[in-house]
C-alpha cells in the first residue's frame, strides 16, 4: 500500500473540491460498499456477543433487542473457552496441521513448477497441468464420497487390497493414527495443481535473457535454477507465505469435517480444529456467547499472525512485504 502516497506534484493537481464526478463514482460503488458494510463490517461488531450472556428477553423481541438486554459478563466466555478441555487440543491441531500443509504444499508446488518449466514437451506439460487442476474444482463433499469408496471398512478399495495381500483390514474411520497422513495427503493433492501453475506462471515471466547470459557464462542447469529461477519466484513465494501464515488459525472446514464424515467421536481429538468446533457449536445448543468467544479468538489470532508475518518479512527483506 506504500504506493497510495502519490507524489506531491500529483497531489497538487488533484482537485480539492467534491465534484459531480465524485458523486457519480460514489453512487456507482454504493451497492458494493453496502455489501461490505453488511457482510464484512457488521460481523466485526459481533464481538460484543462474546462479552455477553445472551438470553431471550420476555416479550418475543428480535435478536438485537435480546442482545442488548442481555448482561455483560466480561471475559467469562473467554475464560470458559480457554479452560475447557478442548482448547489446547484445538490449538495444537489447527496450528500443526497448518504448518504441515504450508511446508509440504509449498515444496510440492515449487518443485513441480521447476520440473514443468524444464519439461521439453510443452504440450505434455499443458496436459499434466490440466489433469492436476481437476481436484481443485471438486468440492470436499464430492471428495468425501471418493475417500469413502477407498476407506469404508467392509467394501472399501483399500481394505480389499490389504486383504488380497494377506493383511488385516483396517477400520479407517476409527483409527486415529492414520488421519494426520490422510489429511495431509488430501490437502496436498487438492492444491497441487493450483500451486504449481501459479509458480510456473511466475517462472515463465522471468526475463529469458538472464538465462541466455548465464549459459554464455557456462552456468549449469542447477546453477541457473539457484541463481535465477529461485530468486525470480521469491516475491510470489514470500507473498504466499505471508497469506498462509495469516490463515494459520483457520482451517479448510470441508477437509476436516466432510472427509472424516462429520468427525466421528473416535477421531475427535485428532481431526478437530477451531472451525469444526465452532460449526458444531452453532449446530448444537451451546451458549452463543461461548461460541462467539471461540470465533472471536480465532479472528484476532488470524489478524495478529498476518501482521506479524508481514512485520518479520519487512525486517528481513523490506521489498517483499505485503502491506
Amino acid at each position: 500500500m506504500g504506493k497510495e502516497k502519490a507524489p506531491r506534484s500529483k497531489a497538487k493537481v488533484r482537485k480539492k473540491r467534491w465534484t459531480k464526478d465524485d458523486t457519480e463514482l460514489t453512487l456507482l460503488s454504493l451497492p458494493t460498499v453496502l455489501w461490505y458494510l453488511i457482510f464484512a463490517y457488521l460481523p466485526m461488531f459481533g464481538v460484543v456477543i462474546a462479552f455477553k450472556e445472551y438470553r431471550l428477553a420476555p416479550g418475543g423481541h428480535g435478536f438485537l433487542y435480546n442482545l442488548f438486554a442481555s448482561d455483560w459478563v466480561g471475559i467469562k466466555n473467554f475464560k470458559y473457552f480457554f479452560t475447557s478441555n478442548s482448547f489446547a487440543m484445538l490449538l495444537r491441531n489447527t496450528i500443526l496441521y497448518n504448518i504441515a500443509f504450508i511446508i509440504i504444499s509449498a515444496t510440492v508446488a515449487v518443485g513441480g513448477a521447476l520440473i514443468l518449466s524444464n519439461m521439453r514437451n510443452k504440450r505434455g506439460s499443458k496436459v499434466y497441468q490440466t489433469m492436476m487442476f481437476l481436484p481443485y474444482f471438486m468440492s470436499w463433499v464430492v471428495i468425501s464420497y471418493f475417500v469413502y469408496a477407498l476407506l469404508t471398512p467392509e467394501k472399501g478399495y483399500m481394505n480389499g487390497l490389504i486383504t488380497a495381500l494377506g493383511g488385516e483390514p483396517v477400520m479407517w474411520y476409527q483409527e486415529k493414527k492414520y488421519w494426520p497422513f490422510i489429511l495431509v495427503i488430501l490437502n496436498t493433492w487438492k492444491g497441487m495443481g493450483y500451486g504449481m501453475v501459479m509458480y510456473l506462471a511466475s517462472i515463465t515471466s522471468i526475463d529469458t535473457s538472464l538465462y541466455e547470459a548465464a549459459v554464455m557464462d557456462g552456468a549449469t542447469k542447477w546453477e541457473q535454477m539457484k541463481h535465477i529461477t529461485l530468486p525470480g519466484i521469491k516475491p510470489v513465494f514470500v507473498m504466499m507465505l505471508i497469506l498462509d501464515c495469516g490463515k494459520i488459525f483457520n482451517s479448510d472446514f470441508g477437509l476436516f469435517y466432510q472427509v472424516t464424515r462429520g468427525i466421528p467421536q473416535s477421531l475427535y481429538t485428532t481431526v478437530s480444529t477451531f472451525d469444526t468446533f465452532i460449526y458444531n457449536s452453532i449446530q448444537s445448543t451451546a451458549p452463543i456467547g461461548q461460541t462467539a468467544a471461540a470465533s472471536f479468538f480465532q479472528a484476532v489470532c488470524s489478524c495478529g499472525t498476518i501482521l506479524f508475518a508481514n512485520w518479520v518479512v519487512s525486517k528481513i527483506d523490506n521489498e517483499n512485504r505485503l502491506i
Binding site: 500500500m1 500529483k10 488533484r14 464526478d21 457519480e24 460514489t26 456507482l28 460503488s29 451497492p31 458494493t32 455489501w35 464484512a40 460481523p43 461488531f45 459481533g46 428480535g62 435478536f63 513441480g112 520440473i115 524444464n118 519439461m119 521439453r120 505434455g124 499434466y128 490440466t130 489433469m131 487442476f133 481437476l134 481436484p135 474444482f137 468440492s139 463433499v141 471428495i143 471418493f146 469408496a149 467392509e154 467394501k155 472399501g156 478399495y157 481394505n159 480389499g160 493433492w189 501453475v197 501459479m198 506462471a201 549459459v215 542447469k221 516475491p235 507473498m239 495469516g246 465452532i278 460449526y279 457449536s281 452453532i282 452463543i288 472471536f296 480465532q298 479472528a299 489478524c303 501482521l307
Partner: protein, 306 residues
Amino acid sequence: MKDKEIKGQSSFNQIKTSTNVIFNIIFLILGLMCIFPLLFVFSISITSEEALRMGGYQIIPQELSNAAYVFLWNERGTIFRALFMSVLVTVVGTVITIALTTSMGYVASRSNYKLKKLYTWIIFIPMVFNGGMLASYVVINNILGLRNTIWALILPLACSSFSVTICRTFFRTTVPDALIEAAKIDGADQFRIWSSIVLPISKPVMATIGMFAAFGYWNDWFQASLYIQDKNLQTLQSMLNKIQENIEYIANNPYGGLSLQQYKMGMPTESVRMAIAIVIIVPIACTYPFFQRYFISGLTVGSVKE
C-alpha cells in the same frame, strides 16, 4: 564438435532426454492420481448393487448396471429441482458478483476520486480481519433473516477483497485516464462510462472473476448446510451432503407397483450416491479445461503487489 553444437541449437540449454522421460513419468502418475477419483466414482456408479455388495468397490466394474441412473431418472423431480437451484444460484450469483466487483474495482482505481483513500481501507481491512464464522452466521441468520432463502446462498459469497483487488489492478493498468476524460467531454456520466466503455474492454478480468465465482457457487455446500433446511431450496451439493447419512432422503416416487417401503429397500443405494457425485463433477470436468487460462491470468494478476 562445432557442428554438433550448431545442430544442437534447438535443444540448447535443455535437460537431458533421460531426465525428461523421468519427469514425464512422474507427472503422468501425478496427473492420473488427480483424475482417478472421477473414473473410480464413475465406475462404481455403473456397477450393479449386487456386485458392490459382494465384491466391494472396484476400479473395474464387476457387473455393469444402469440401475443408479434409472433410479435418478425416476426421481427426476427431486434431481432436476436441485439441479435447477444449483444453476440458478450459480448464474444469479455470478452476475451479481461481476457487477459488484467490477464497479468497486473501477471506482477504487480512479486516481482523482475524492474518497480513494477511504476505499483503499474499506477493501483492505477485511483482508486481515473478519468477525469470525459465528458473527457472520448471526448477521445472516438473525439480523438479516435470510435463513431458507436463496439469498443466503448468494449474497455472502458475492464479493471479496481479493477479486476487487484484481479488478482494481487491472483497471489501473488498462483503462487510461485520457479515455475516461474523452468520454466525459462527450457528456457521458460515470455509470455510462463504466457500463459502455470499461466493461467491454475488461472481458479478461470479468472472465477471471466470473469463473472463480461460478465454480465457487456451484461447489458450495457450506452456506446451504448452515442456512437451508427447506427441501425445495436444496442444491445438488447440499443434497449430496444430506444423503451422506440418509440416502432415503431422495426416494419418494415408487414405481412398478411397489410400496414406498419396498422401493426404499430395493434402491441401489451405493451406486446412486456415486451417480449424484458424477452429476456434479461432469459439468465441472467438461468446462474447466476451457477456462483454465482465465484462472491462471487471475492468479498472476492477483499476485501483483499493491
